[in-house]
Each structure stands twice: as C-alpha cells, then as structure tokens.
Symmetry: C2
Subunit: 306 residues, 2 copies
Amino acid sequence: MILTVTLNTALDLTYRVPALVPHASHRVTQVIERPGGKGLNVARVLDTLGYETVATGFAGGATGAVLRERLAELSTVRDALVETAGPTRRTVAVVDTTTGDTTQLNEPGPTVTPEEWAAFRGRFTELLDGARAVALCGSLPPGIHVGAYAELVRAARAAGVPVLLDTSGEPLRRGIAARPDLVKPNADELAQLTGAREPHRATLDARRRGAHAVVSSLGPEGLLAATPEGLWQASPPAPVHGNPTGAGDSAVAGLLSGLIDATPWPTRLTRAVALSAATVLSPVAGEFDARAYEELLAKVTVREVS
Amino acid sequence: MILTVTLNTALDLTYRVPALVPHASHRVTQVIERPGGKGLNVARVLDTLGYETVATGFAGGATGAVLRERLAELSTVRDALVETAGPTRRTVAVVDTTTGDTTQLNEPGPTVTPEEWAAFRGRFTELLDGARAVALCGSLPPGIHVGAYAELVRAARAAGVPVLLDTSGEPLRRGIAARPDLVKPNADELAQLTGAREPHRATLDARRRGAHAVVSSLGPEGLLAATPEGLWQASPPAPVHGNPTGAGDSAVAGLLSGLIDATPWPTRLTRAVALSAATVLSPVAGEFDARAYEELLAKVTVREVS
C-alpha cells in the first residue's frame, strides 16, 4: 500500500456566492464539504487510480468526525488518522459564481499535544511496515516541532520505504537535509528555499541540498525534474484553465504511483502532468476529470533539458 | 418558563482577519463558535437575566450537535430542540480587525421534512402547557410553509399563552393577521410590510393589521411602541456604537421579561432599550455588557408621543 501523511487536515468548505462584497451580507447558494489537506487529496487520487492507500495524520472533534465520514463516503482509502482533543480546522473557499474567483479563509487548527504526537509516531512506525512508498504533505499544525518532517523522512529511510516530501518553508529546508527520495516544490517554495528565481537553477540547487530527486511545479507550464538519470521538462499540450486547487496534490499522486510502478522518469512525469491538468479541468476542486486524464496522457510532451 | 422558538437555528462562526480582500487567501487569527438564530439569542439573554427559559426549534447533524453542546456550556437554557436529518446551517461573520467591519456569509440550511414539522408541532403544543410567554423568532427554513408562524400564533392564543413574533416578509404579514400579542419589526421590515417609510405611521399601520402591540426598532435611536395604552418612544442617552449583532434579540428578551412581570409599558421599553444598547457595547456579538445594562436602566428616556 501507499501511505500518505496529513498532519494538518482540514474540513474544506466551498461556498458559492454571486459575488463577494466586503462588509455586505451574502446568502450562500451552495455548500460543498470535503475532506481536505494535501495528503488526503493525494490519497483520494491514488485511490481513484486503483492503488491501495492508507491515510494517517490527525483529526479531532465534530469537524474531524465529519471529515472522516466524508472520506469514507468518497473513497476506499483506509483511515488511519490519529484522534486529537482539539477539533480539526475548517477552510472556507468562497467562489464568486460570476467570475470563478476564489477567496480563501483558513482556520489555524488545534494545537497538537506531545502525547498526540507520540501516538502518531507510533502509528507511523507501524504503518511503514507494509508501505511501498510514503508521502509527507502540507503544513505543520501548531504544537509540532519544525524538524518533524526531517524526523519522519529519517524514519522512512531507516525502514527502507521511499519517501516524498511536499511542504514549504523551514520544514521543507530541514526535511530536504534528511535526504528524502523526492521533493515537489512549486515556484514560490523553491525561490524561498534557494533564493534563486530561475527554475532550472533553483531545482538543481534544491537537489544539491539533499533530495535524491526534485520535481518542481511550473504552474500551467508543467513540471521540471532534476533526477539522478537526468533533467526533464514535461508540459501539457496547452496551458489549461480552471480551478488549480489540488493540482499539485494530483501531481504528487502521479509521481508516487510511477515510483512504486518503477516506470522511467519520462513516463512518471507524463502521468503527473496529465493528472494535474485533468484536476484543473475538473468542475469539483481537488478531483480530476478521468476522460481528460486519459486524453492528456497521449498529449503531454517530455523533453530532456541540458 | 418562557419558551423561545428558533426554526432556523445556525452555528454562528466569527472569523477575525486583519482585512478581508476578495480573491486573496487569509489566515484566520481567531475563531469563535456560538449557538445562533434569533430565538436562541433571546433565550440566552433571558437566561442571563435569571428567567427560566426553554428553547425549541430544529437542530441536526454534526453542526447541530456542536450548537447544542455550546448552548449547554454557555447557559442553563433547557434544550427542547427537535432533531432534523439535515445538518444545521453555519453562518460565518468575517470581522476585519483593523476597521471592525463585518462580512456575513449565511448557509441556506437543511430542508425540514413534513415528519419533522409534525414532530415539532407536537413538541410545541406540549411546551405551551407551562409557558408564561412564547417568542417566535427569525426566518423560516426551507420546507416550512409560509403560514407556519400564523399557525403557531393561533396555537399559542388557543392555549392562552402571550405570543411575540419577530420575523420578516410574508411570514410576518401572515403572522400579524393571526393577532399576536406583540410584534417587533425593524425599520426595513416595517417598510416592507406597510409600504410606509415614516416610522410612526408605519407602526400604527402594522398594529391595525392585527397585532395587539407593535414595538418598532429605530436602530441606534431606540424603540417606538404602539400599544392599547398609548404610543411611546424610548431612547438611549446617546446613540451607541459597536457591534449591533443580536441587539434586536436583546430588545425582544427585554420586552418578553416585562410582559411576564406585567410591568407598565414605559418600564418594559426602558429595559428593552437598555439591554439592546448594552448588547451593542459588548465585545462579544450577541452578548450584553451587564454593567452597561445596569447603568443604562437609569438613563433611558421614555416619552409619550401624540
């Protein structure tokens, strides 16, 4: 099975309103409730692709219970989340139905206690036994030390399980130094990490910091991969327009599935770009359009970069 | 006891952000969760004033469970809410901490089924036996017929229980025709009902439509009451500034408590205006500042209007 870790899960609410006007009152015309957090998105995409997937991390309170209910309704992902005393945070995406623009409101989330972190560490160690790959995804909740991902990367490596890290800021900087198999930063995360704005240079720089491979997101222009076998750029046939929520998580799912299938890098990157673009094209944030995915697989181009 | 009815309860969330910017992403710095809906606000104020209070209406799902938990934590109001299959709606008030301005997002709420309405009607009839007064407050949820408040007014009158109605639009129009003891419209609701913008004329007109007494809110300028004993205007010593959320509900609580204490109209109006102004002055939306209330009781002026 593939293991995904989401330490800062969220109950994602999408509110549709005709237009968001500050300091006015709005009737929400539609409410959608989804299990959220990057690792849970990755798990749902892997599940849809037919991979046996287990999700761990934290959930608690009434919002955590709803998150777990929705996850069970929407997927066959095995729920191995650890209970927290504090309630799972909500995020609210307010979508203007006239323009499609989104205003995001993110609750801070509960503080994880040392006992809860210890319980998670125990669960993580148990789950590594039997995992073919593990993805560590998203931000750290309050209460968890900044070196937590580095600690989990070392544990995965010690257990011989390939590990992918998708986070930002100091947790990314420390996590890379623990030598994960793969990191997947976007342009902003990369620039913050390396100080370099030019993507090729920044991607190579990130790899020198310790990651076995770095796959950088170039947004609508695809992915750039620095690997032991070479440097590649993978691009969709044309920039896609739509809702980019979850596109990066779909790319992570594509990379992980390619990793455990041991496909060559160009094939992995094709899958990741096709999944990512098919997610942008889906009307529901964080889900991918299966037909568009199949079509895109034949149309993504991968070229070796010198 | 005093009975309050909230057919369209809500879990009220208050999000504090430095400033709401459309189409940007925001970290919420503080989240407050409160039991919401006009009748529950009235019940909490009556409870704080020391009146035995029972709250009925509807609640359901995970959000309904949190609403009931919070109500029990914050008050000694007896919970006689009827369970719905659909989850209780949320409202989100986004407060700009720099200006204090509020942007409101209101979920539509679940549709109440005919069986749930029948269960409520049975509960309402049982609770009328023992009630000294009843308040019917707020909007009607989806699924409930527009004449519902008229039906409940008639049931209360048949049981000999004084009934106050605080709603708007067609449910108010129909409810007034069923001859409630008291209605408490604000300026907009009054104008919508009568077509008249001038408050004295509109208040007298509303009374001719069937209500025994009409107490109109003049916003920061106080209340205007058309009663069988005369016409009065009650005003705070100076217009108060702050958060007006729940100020109207506090006025309803003041009027109801005066009704069951059988105080003269000027005393009732003084209490209602003082509670309302003390609610605007409270830092927490929907709660009143107890010290300000005591001080305002001596400072509210009531004059008879010809």
